[in-house]
């Protein structure tokens, strides 16, 4: 990759060796955002326990090995950590040069999904099965490349000092860049991911300083798009049913409302301290479908209670709070936009995921960052954490 060796932590100061250099005042390790890293790691580890609790009895999907999902979740977390380290090592600026390539690859990935290579899981045709039990969900990586691509376009002239804000042409280009993969994902149809991307675009535009007209225009366009999607019958019946069940939770509790109902019963029955890990009857009885992925929060709600579930929300809060600070404190607009995009992504996906288990959002197939089981999502999220760390590491110490 280009510019891989151009990365350096500091251009001055004596070269130190080994541990001393690692923990020197200006070293990478010292400058990492440890609260984000530790919170993210905690969330992933909590996630692994919850995933284990949800799957140890599900013999149909765990292939007879109760630890199947636990091991894989930990493996995914490890790979995610490595990806983060790689991202920090490369640096978000260096990655900027690679954006065209990454963007191209990710769009190619989602295009492949539409070919016979792709496969459908839970109604969403958004997977490429690699064999050996591995599969990829390219739309997860598109979220990263949309952020990087838009940030690259929007920040280019501002960071160069030419303009205070991105001009209309640049904004249009950036929107076009985001629109292409979004349309493809919409065809899958993976409505949840499209919704996340719309929010990411909104966050990116806000942070770029683009004029208010664009921001409100985009919100209006989003609303229009929703109506269009509805009218053009792009949605499958199951997706319409999810909204119907959200609007009226008592509707057909054995049918479309089943998920939300059972999820709410699971969380509600947890009380203050929960039934104890591995002792949740809703979880053990497999009353909540997709509990290791989209509904993983219900395991926390039932078995760990308000204390445990609240801790997950608090840890997400730490990640988002620190990410917002990173966005505010970095000096270059590129970093600000990337950080804001990641904030918008994490915040919306967390809110939507937890919100749907609590019955305040409609059901969509979105994983809870760090906690839900799922390789592609885990990798993309850790890459995003890497981006946040890189932005933080490369800002001046004085800031």
């Amino acid at each position: 990759m280009t510019g891989a060796n151009g990365f350096s932590v500091s251009g001055y100061g004596p070269e130190r060796a080994g541990w001393t250099r690692m923990f020197a005042r200006d070293s990478v390790a010292r400058r990492l955002d440890w609260p984000i890293l530790l919170s993210a790691l905690s969330l992933s580890l909590i996630g692994s326990v919850l995933v284990f609790s949800a799957t140890r009895n599900r013999t149909v999907i765990n292939q007879g090995d109760p630890y199947y999902f636990l091991v894989r979740h930990l493996m995914n977390t490890g790979i995610g950590l490595a990806l983060m380290i790689g991202t920090v090592w490369l640096g978000h600026r260096a990655l900027r040069n690679a954006v065209p390539v990454l963007y191209g690859l990710s769009v190619l990935g989602i295009l492949l999904v539409l070919t016979p290579l792709g496969s459908t899981v839970n109604g969403a045709h958004s997977w490429i099965v690699l064999g050996g039990g591995f599969s990829l969900q390219p739309s997860e990586f598109v979220k990263v490349t949309i952020i990087l691509g838009m940030a690259m376009l929007l920040a280019a002239r501002v960071d160069a000092g030419d303009k205070p804000y991105p001009d209309h042409r640049t904004v249009l280009q950036a929107l076009g860049l985001a629109a292409v993969p979004m349309l493809i994902v919409l065809l899958m149809p993976d409505l949840g991911s499209v919704m996340v991307m719309v929010i990411i675009v909104l966050g990116v535009l806000l942070a770029s300083g683009a004029s208010n007209r664009w921001v409100f225009g985009l919100i209006g366009a989003g609303a229009l798009g929703a109506v269009a999607v509805w009218q053009l019958h792009i949605l499958d019946e199951y997706q319409i049913n999810r909204f119907a069940a959200f609007a009226n939770p008592d509707l057909d509790p054995a049918g479309v409302g089943y998920n939300t109902n059972q999820a709410r019963i699971a969380i509600g029955s947890g009380g203050l301290t929960g039934s104890g890990l591995f002792h949740g009857s809703q979880t053990t009885g497999q009353f909540v479908p997709e509990q290791q992925t989209d509904f993983v929060f219900t395991v926390a709600g039932e078995e760990l209670g308000f204390v445990g579930a609240g801790l997950i929300i608090a840890l997400l809060g730490v990640v988002l709070w620190r990410a917002c600070r990173i966005a505010r404190e970095t000096t270059e607009l590129y970093g600000t936009i990337v950080a804001a995009g990641v904030v918008a992504w994490f915040a919306f996906q967390s809110f939507e995921n937890i919100g749907m288990t609590l019955g305040i959002m409609p059901v969509t197939g979105l994983p809870l960052p760090f906690v839900s089981y799922g390789g592609s999502s885990m990798f993309a999220i850790w890459v995003a954490v890497g981006l946040l760390q890189s932005i933080r590491v490369q800002r001046p110490m004085s800031a």
């Binding site: 509600g268 029955s269 009380g271 009857s281 929300i313 988002l320 917002c324 915040a347 001046p396």
Partner: protein, 752 residues
């Protein structure tokens, strides 16, 4: 490269970033708030919903306790039947919901596949029977009559029959040892109703849907003890109903066994003799109505005189209690309860009531003594007694001149009691009674326990009736409108009676009290009341609550709760009066109205003093009711046959035969203790083994036949048909006399 000047930082971006940060935090705050609402505020509600989600109860029915006779012979127990059941949960896991398996099963069992499918469907409002109304997690019985071969076929090829089990299960059985069916005493079971489940829900012995509940007799009276406690296992199930763990398990506790004072052999003899007596009576000509006696129902009670325990209690018509096992068929049900059924479910000994006839005279005698008439006084026994223009005849005896009360009992002289009752009626103020009338005759009846339950441990005992002033007033209030409408001064007999009743039916008229004194008129008693009274005369005056239950033995045999005899009063007679009465009643058996059933036909009166009183009650529009009340120092036996003729005539031979069997007496009067079934009442309980089982002796195939064979001597053991078939219908049985020392059994009731 690192020190980039702060060119890109503009206020607009800064402000927007702060807005984003606030927005993000408020979203998280929303989540936290909602989480608090669900888990803390509404948590209890959801926890309840969750527990309902995944706990299923599976019930193991408790084995019902046995009902045993005094020697441990089971009168009601459980038999093991091979029950083939299907588990719905297992069937539903199969591709075609188990249709193929059920069809195959129907083939093995020789049933229609359609019937089998209908049996395993669940009942709901729209589904008619057959359907399963128990828990869907309970195995559903397909048949309880599988042969061992069929069960083997199912078990050996269990892989061909997933979800099907063939297990031995306990089913209620009434084995009728020695042909003693004891139907009305035992009662029967039927499935619990929804209302009963509701009502018993919060008590400490709630019903289960699969429960059978005792509906009458001992099965009902001792239902709680016999039923035991069903085992409940609570399984945690997953969303598909698969069991994922066992939450709680209360093992089934079998019901306790009930040891009764019934002796199966005596019971059989009582039932047999009652039936034979009724059959014989039906051959007899009734001169009054001009047709043969109907003998439509009857009862006999054999009671231990010193405790009130019931040794035998037979009611006729009877039925086979096994008809109720496994659900009664509509046809059987109609046969037992229909209009033409003659109600065999009724226990005539406790639920049948009629006027007592002359057996009531012991009460009148006690009342007279209480009223100050000396027992040994001289009272005129005329052939009739007149009050105004009404003539009251001496029905049962002839003109004996002035006789004592004892002799009046012996010969059953009505006019002696007419005179005493009439005198008392006048003393009490006649038609306009004094304020504090003595009412000795009515008071005595109440003190003898009439007009209220004896307290026997059988459900729905009836009270009988003492037609005293209070009753007359109530009865008149209830009926006067009808009487006054129907009554005519110069109409038919019925209309005249109604007219009189309308005018003064609320008053005690001379005729009412006169009729009452000899047990006729409106008085109603039950056989069990009379048995209690005669037992009390025998035992010195204690009125015992009759009991059938003797002890409740826990299933492990460790706890034995004895049911002690309880008394509900004493007869209002002094010891001297009792002795005099006792002597007089012995006189009835030796030289009075019952002598031809005892002393004159070889009863060893010197060894076993017999006391008796006969009774023949008039019932308007029907044939006379036969009453026969007897006692020795050990037992009291009371028998009655509705529309059966006279006391000693219709019931006499049967009662004699029961005594013969109890004491081992033959027709010739010799006693063989080895042939005696119960020369003295059964003391103690049958032997309970350490494992809780109760030993029971063998019972002969038919003790009644054996007893008769022995009583008649070896000459005609196979004689089954009583000789009464040859009886002359021209002779009324009240005029018959038994010939002594006749070798043939039948001739005992042969009419001369």
């Amino acid at each position: 490269m690192t020190n980039i000047p702060e060119t890109g930082r503009t206020p607009r971006v800064q402000i927007r970033l702060v807005v984003i940060q606030i927005l993000v935090l408020s979203l998280l705050g929303t989540l936290g708030g909602r989480l608090w609402y669900l888990q803390i505020r509404e948590g209890a509600e959801y926890a309840k919903e969750a527990s309902g989600n995944h706990v299923q109860r599976v019930v193991q029915p408790a084995v019902r306790g046995s009902i045993l006779d005094a020697r441990g012979v089971p009168l009601a127990d459980n038999e093991t039947r091979l029950v083939v059941s299907a588990s719905r949960t297992d069937l539903l896991k199969q591709k075609d919901d188990g249709k193929a398996v059920l069809t195959k099963l129907a083939g093995v069992l020789g049933m229609d596949p359609q019937d089998v499918m209908l049996k395993v469907r669940l009942c709901d409002a729209k589904t008619p029977q057959p359907c399963w109304n128990g828990s869907p997690y309970q195995p559903i019985p397909i048949t309880d009559e599988a042969t061992p071969k069929q069960a083997l076929q199912i078990r050996e090829r269990s892989e061909d029959f997933p979800g099907i089990t063939a297990e031995p299960e306990a089913v209620r059985r009434y084995p009728a040892p020695g042909k003693a069916n004891t139907a009305q005493v035992l009662g029967y079971l039927s499935p619990v109703t929804d209302d009963e489940i509701q009502a018993a829900q919060d008590t400490d012995s709630p019903y289960l849907r699969s429960d059978q509940v005792g509906r009458s007799g001992l099965e009902r009276e001792y239902d709680r003890e016999l039923r035991g406690k069903a085992g409940v296992t609570r399984y945690e199930v997953d969303n598909l109903g698969r069991v994922i763990g066992q939450a709680e398990a209360d093992p089934a506790q079998p019901g306790a066994n009930l040891v009764t004072s019934i002796d199966a052999r005596v019971q059989r003899i009582a039932e047999y003799e009652l039936n034979e007596a009724m059959k014989t009576a039906r051959q007899q000509w009734d001169r009054v109505t001009g047709e043969k006696y109907k003998a439509d129902s009857g009862a006999v009670v054999v009671m231990e005189a010193k405790t009130g325990r019931i040794v035998a209690m037979a009611s006729n018509p009877t039925y086979d209690p096994n008809a109720w096992v496994g659900g009664i068929s509509a046809k059987d049900y109609a046969k037992l309860t229909g209009k033409d059924s003659n109600y065999p479910l009724l226990n005539r000994a406790t639920q049948g009531q009629s006027a007592p006839g002359s057996t009531f005279k012991v009460i009148s005698t006690a009342a007279a003594v209480e009223a100050g008439y000396p027992f040994d006084g001289r009272y005129p026994c005329t052939s009739s007694y007149s009050v105004g223009n009404q003539v009251f005849k001496n029905f049962e005896s002839e003109n004996f001149g002035p006789i004592s009360l004892g002799r009046a009992l012996e010969v059953s002289c009505d006019t002696v009691f007419y005179g005493l009752a009439h005198k008392e009626w006048q003393r009490d103020g006649g038609i306009t009674p004094k304020k504090n009338a003595n009412d000795y005759f009515f008071k005595a009846a109440h003190q003898f326990g009439l007009g209220k339950e004896t307290g026997i441990d059988l459900p729905n005992e009836v009270t009988g009736r003492v037609p005293d002033r209070q009753w007359k007033q109530r009865f008149w209030q209830a009926n006067k409108d009808a009487w006054c409408k129907q009554g005519k001064k110069d109409g038919t007999y019925v209309e005249k009676i109604a007219y009189e009743n309308c005018l003064e039916g609320n008053r005690m008229r001379a005729g009412d009290e006169i009729n009452y004194s000899i047990g006729q008129g409106d008085t109603l008693v039950t056989p069990i009341q009379m048995a209690t009274i005669y037992a009390a005369i025998s035992n010195g005056g204690t009125l015992y609550n009759p009991t059938i239950g003797k002890a409740v033995v826990s299933p492990d045999g460790r706890t034995v709760t004895e049911i002690k005899p309880k008394s509900h009063g004493r007869l209002p007679i002094s010891a001297a009066t009792r002795d005099q009465m006792d002597e007089a009643l012995a006189g009835v058996a030796t030289r009075g109205t019952a002598a031809w059933r005892f002393a004159q036909v070889g009863w060893p009166q010197d060894k076993i003093p017999m006391h008796a009183k006969t009774g023949t009650a008039e019932v308007y529009g029907k044939q006379t009711t036969s009453w026969f009340a007897t006692y020795t120092k050990d037992y009291a036996i009371v028998m009655t046959i509705s529309q059966g003729g006279t006391g000693s005539g219709a019931s006499g031979p049967a009662v004699r035969n029961i005594y013969d069997a109890l004491y081992g007496v033959t027709d010739t009067g010799s006693i063989d203790r080895s042939k005696a079934l119960l020369p003295s009442p059964q003391k103690g309980l049958p032997k309970i083994k350490t494992d809780g089982t109760i030993t029971s002796p063998k019972v002969a195939k038919d003790p009644a036949k054996d007893a008769r064979a022995y009583q008649e001597g070896a000459t005609a053991p196979d004689e089954q048909q009583p000789g009464a078939t040859t009886a002359s219908p021209a002779a009324a049985n009240r005029d018959t006399r038994r010939r002594r020392k006749t070798p043939r059994r039948g001739s005992r009731r042969k009419l001369t």
